[in-house]
């Protein structure tokens, strides 16, 4: 290589680096793998909403062995998507995390049972095996059971809780009688496996009055104390909400964008379009600002978990802030 071309390449690299530096970098850690559940963020990236806010956002997919809060605290991300129950449990265990925005208004969590097991109402649960995911996702089920007054250790008059992996096989293979499902994902896996809605009994947490807040945006107290960072977060939340509302209005296009960003290639078009349709129902009614009443209800549900409460004390208003959304939604 001649000296001349060497310099040429070096200056080109410098230019490229300079160009990238212009936009502020921000990393988002998702709670789960790339799917329409996170369409708003992918749409905002693809449609240039982040660019308009002068942001260079990296979206990191999650997975069964990734705890978003660990990534956040370890410095691997600036913002994470998490459920409020697991976020509050982590907060009580010493993680200074704060909810800065809440794009999801409603809960998509439900318990799906096979009709053949004779479960028609929550009174029929005792003596049955209920499957749930863990990693923080089990907390709403535990608080529900304690609200109903059922022991969860399989003793007389109580239910047996069974850890299941993130699929519906245990339900189909009759290893559990009920399984935790999401309105937008696992429920449709059951349907795709050949069962009809008539074969199933579904208990939506939203309808049982025990819904907890899902898929909020969280960052650390340290980040919020930094004015430069909060300013970045304001722009991030503004662009993300723009992405969410665009996705709500154009579900098919949003699903396509998600599919393009799915590096694993595991998602199918049919599944993602259906998922986006369900997700739009959950984000509807939220402008991104957390409703304090929803927060209080979630905390009450979590505190009510009887002998083995999910959290032992009300974290109060320290666990959420309107500082970011107030600025972002102006």
């Amino acid at each position: 290589m001649t000296k001349f071309t060497g310099w040429g390449i070096a200056s080109a690299l410098l230019l490229a680096a300079g160009g990238a530096q212009a936009a502020d970098e921000l990393t988002l850690q998702l709670k789960w793998v790339t799917q329409a559940q996170f369409a708003g963020y992918y749409v905002a990236a693809e449609k240039g909403f982040y660019e308009e806010e002068d942001l260079d956002v990296t979206i990191k997919p999650g997975g069964p062995d990734i705890a978003p809060v660990q990534v956040l605290l370890g410095g691997g991300a600036d913002v994470m998507v998490d459920w409020l129950p697991s976020a509050l449990a982590a907060r009580e265990n010493g993680a200074p995390i704060v909810n800065i925005a809440q794009p999801f208004k409603s809960s998509g969590l439900m318990l799906t049972c096979l009709k053949e097991h004779g479960i028609e109402s929550p009174e029929d649960f005792p003596g049955h095996t209920l499957g749930t995911w863990f990693f923080g996702n089990e907390l709403p089920l535990y608080s529900w059971m304690s609200k109903l007054g059922y022991a969860t250790d399989g003793s007389e008059g109580g239910v047996t809780i069974q850890k299941i992996n993130f699929n519906v096989d245990p339900l189909l293979q009759k290893q559990v009688e009920c399984a935790t499902t999401m309105t937008y994902n696992e429920y449709w896996q059951v349907i795709d496996a050949g069962l009809t809605p008539e074969d199933l009994v579904v208990f939506k947490y939203q309808d049982e009055g025990i819904s907890t807040l899902e898929d909020g945006l969280y960052t650390t107290e340290e980040n919020l104390a930094d004015p430069e960072m909060t300013e970045k977060l304001v722009r991030f939340v503004r662009a993300s909400m723009k992405g969410w509302k665009y996705a709500e209005e154009n579900p098919d296009e949003a699903a396509e964008i998600v599919l393009e960003n799915d590096e694993t290639g595991a998602q199918t078009e049919k599944h993602q379009k259906r998922m986006m349709g369900e997700i739009a129902k959950l984000t509807a009614g939220s402008n991104g600002a957390l409703d304090p009443a929803d927060f209080t209800r979630t905390v009450e549900v979590l505190l009510s978990a009887g002998a083995d409460p999910v959290i032992t004390k009300d974290p109060g208003e320290a666990a959420w802030t309107h500082a970011i959304t107030d600025e972002a939604l102006k």
Partner: protein
């Protein structure tokens, strides 16, 4: 700062004591050296975590882990029973006995040795994360499937060692047995099995740690809501890292005790072997 200085001082003291002790002979010195080393390591860990203010999420201090250990002892005991006693030990006993019996059959019939052992090596190389989900599907979520994983994991190390051990007699020794008019079973029992014992115990020791790893890892792929693997994999999501570390302590203690127990039996059973003499 004072914590870091304290850590450095304790480290220097421990080093000095161990250098002096290691020059002495005798049982006390031989025991004291590793104990001092271990204690210094734990103290330096505590000092570093406190001195540098490391987040408990990344690395909890030993004192925090110890406190959690005391606080959650009932949960830890329940997990220990589920994983070690039910899963690992059952699988270990089943897998090792099956391997020893198979070894004797394989040794008897040469065509089995030539046909079965390559297959054995092939199966032994299968990754546990591949077979564990399948065995969970076959044997259910409870400890039975963990025992099945352990059987698969320990079977081949023990088999290969035992087969090797059974062929570890010289022609001279076998000829001597023949001059005594000893049949197959007599020479197996009196000569070849005793000669194979050091090899067999090697396999059993390797299998003891494998059994524990197998039982814990298998719980990652479906388990009831108890067990060490279950707790380790799910507590992370709630940031209960002190509980995760407490489970790791239990696993380390159980694994060492298991290995030590097998080593003690070995010493009693193969006292005549050169490697055990003079201890």
């Amino acid at each position: 700062m004072s914590w870091i200085v304290a850590g450095l001082i304790i480290w220097a003291l421990g080093l000095w004591a161990n250098v002096r002790l290691s020059k002495r002979k005798g049982r006390v010195a031989a025991l004291a050296v590793p104990v001092i080393f271990g204690l210094v390591l734990v103290f330096v860990w505590e000092a570093v975590v406190r001195g540098f203010g490391i987040s408990p999420v990344l690395l909890p201090a030993p004192s925090v882990i110890a406190a959690r250990f005391g606080q959650s002892s009932s949960v830890l005991w329940q997990d220990f029973v589920q994983t070690v006693l039910k899963g690992a030990l059952t699988g270990y006993v089943l897998g090792c006995s099956a391997a020893l019996l198979t070894a004797i059959v394989v040794d008897r019939f040469d065509f089995l040795r030539r046909g079965l052992l390559p297959v054995g090596n092939f199966v032994a190389a299968l990754p546990i994360i591949g077979i564990a989900p399948i065995l969970v599907m076959w044997f259910g979520f409870d400890w039975q499937s963990k025992a099945a994983v352990v059987v698969v994991m320990v079977f081949f190390p023990v088999l290969v060692n035992a087969v090797q051990g059974l062929s570890d007699t010289s022609a001279m020794q076998r000829d001597l047995m023949r001059t005594y008019a000893a049949g197959y079973w007599t020479s197996l029992w009196k000569l070849r099995l005793p000669a194979a014992l050091p090899f067999i115990f090697n396999g059993l020791k390797i299998a003891s740690t494998l059994a524990l790893i197998g039982a814990i890892v298998a719980e990652f792929f479906g388990s009831p809501i108890t067990g060490m693997g279950f707790r380790i994999s799910t507590s992370v999501g709630l940031l209960q890292l002190d509980l995760v570390w407490a489970e790791i302590v239990v696993a380390a203690l159980a694994g060492s005790a298991f290995y030590g127990g097998v080593a003690l039996i070995e010493r009693a059973a193969t006292f005549w072997h050169p490697s055990q003499r003079g201890r």
